[in-house]
Assembly symmetry: none
DNA sequence: AATGAATGAGGATTCATTCAT
DNA sequence: AATGAATGAATCCTCATTCAT
């Protein structure tokens, strides 16, 4: 019985977050009203405040949870083999993860583009996650070509991640007319080629 | 010479739009309140409604005007020389135009990412402009390599524009740590190389 | 030429009043906004204020003009013959006039029912017209039966006019399902019978 | 006993409705502003929206409740005796109920006269109630004279109700100068006489 | 005779949040 | 662990009206 009670709390929290991702990734920070989330999850607005301090915390949690979901979908564990192979595998698994769990990046980019006086903490969370990704990708890029200097690595990492963002947006806008996986394969090749060129030139 | 104190409609309209671009490209559709725009342009909220039917029309006009501004900054006229040169020139002038007039793309991408039941017309306007750009870039890509089949052209155009979006976002997020022009040069080379590879393979 | 100019003024005034009757008799005093009237007549709101001091005066004029229209439709001139005949003729011509020109009574009754702190002058105009009608009908009633005392006349006049109002409303609500002329004939007979009964009893 | 200071929903709802009848039956649909109701009931405007979806629902509820109040005041139970007696008793009790609880009909008629594109649901509610009354009165009329054909019954019912409406309006306009009960007695007699005449003629 | 533009007040409604239970 | 009710501030937008031209 007691366990059931506990479980209900968890369940409500989950229902709220489920509703909130949906709303937030559809309409952004301002467009996400507590009333809308409440309507979508079936719980009264006041119950949302029992689980979350305020709207800011709710949306920050949404970003965190949807990132976790996305990360699980990426499953990077088996990145082995030559660098070129690793880059391509990474690209494809990122693409597939974005198809499976697009909420994280959709909402994250929306937050990243907005610039209000008092930054929502969800934005901070997103930027932090993005920084981690930057460091991670930098490691991979360096392993492609040891001769790359740091400024070239920076450039390549920024390019690699930025283009990934852009491709995701293209998919969001274009829907079925856009083949995300093929685009990411193209992207992987482009980054590898660029690394070669920079390794020689730079 | 004598500026009328009252009833200079054109000027007021301009002041409203100036305020609105600023607000909208900072905070997106929902975050743009008429009260904020009113405060920023000095005219009462009700006057905004004399010039624009509603918020939707206001923001759609903002997108239109800021696109025109951006387009002027691009100055494509002098695209001559071999294809490779043209691609690079285009990339650099796009990059510079985005540095000079970033409002159009910042707001446009924010709108594009949102997916509310009833699409704001500003979003429609942005997507239309984007389509035109797509067609335009397709022409350039075809001129690089006549052997590219249409699906390869589509892929490359989508990639070219998507990565440009992403780079812009990277600059927005990263600020001075990001060298947008250098990234666009890298991007131009990447697209050219990819065109070569696809022209042979595809 | 000059005459043309003059005529334009009259024409605008007429267009405004035409629009205003329509709106006012559809939506009452509060529901009639200058913007709506302006949209319906094609002239800007400020032009309405050139012709009428304010909304109050506009609607008062509407009532006056639509009363005149109605009165013209009644054409009472030929009320001759025995009292019973006159009453019936009056009833039928009132009924027909209400079918032809219903705006006056519709708007008038709407105004009469409302009771706001500061009475619109249109309401006053309506009540005055109504008083005149009362006096007029009293004359007719007295001519039916000289033995009626004044309190009986009052009662009958009030009843005669009140029922007429009610029948008009029934027609407004019921539309084609209601035969207004037949109802007014029934009403005329009822009033005559009541006069007989009161003349004996009272 | 202990009245809760907060969160007595039923009581608040009642206070809102009390305020709303007063305002609405004085000023009609458009004239009833939420701010006015709020001021009159002491609750903030936003609280009104906790209890009612929107103004439309509020006023529809007002009509429903004020009809119930009026119906209670009519107390039809004791309609016995010969038809003539029943008609007279009904007339007098309707008159008295209208004196006690005039809000329902005053507001209802105001709504009935307005004809805006999108009918307020309060109007629909009123017309439905009115239809029920029509059926009820038809039963009584038929019981007066079995020989009346249906078209005559229709005519008489429409006349009976319409004149009642008109008499109510006369009382509203005329105030103390109008003796509503006496008018309704006159009306009852008129309807009975008319039924006799139609029974023979029709 | 007319009108484009402006304006402060007020319209309905939704907002994020709180609090007593 | 949850919720019904409340609330002040803010939302978009319309109001009647004015005034310089």
């Amino acid at each position: 019985m007691a366990r059931q009670r506990r479980a209900d709390g968890e369940e409500s929290r989950r229902k709220i977050l489920d509703a909130a991702v949906e709303v937030a990734s559809e309409r952004g920070y301002d467009g996400t009203s507590i009333a809308l989330v409440s309507a979508k999850c079936g719980l009264p607005a006041s119950s949302i405040y029992w689980h979350f301090k305020d709207k800011d915390e709710l949306i920050a949690t949404v970003i965190e949870r949807s990132f976790a979901t996305w990360l699980e979908a990426v499953r990077l564990a088996d990145l082995t083999g030559p660098a070129a192979e690793r880059v391509k595998t990474l690209a494809v698994s990122v693409a597939n993860a974005l198809l499976e769990a697009p909420d994280f990046l959709r909402l994250g980019l929306m937050l990243a583009l907005e610039r209000r006086p008092q930054d929502p903490s969800a934005r901070t969370v997103f930027l932090r996650v993005r920084d981690t990704a930057h460091t991670y990708v930098a490691g991979i890029i360096r392993s492609i070509d040891g001769k790359l200097d740091e400024s070239a690595v920076e450039l390549l990492v920024t390019y690699a991640i930025a283009a990934a963002d852009g491709l995701f947006i293209a998919k969001e806008i274009g829907g079925d007319r856009v083949d995300l996986v093929r685009l990411f394969e193209l992207h992987a090749r482009a980054v590898l080629t660029a690394a070669d060129q920079l390794g020689v030139t730079g």
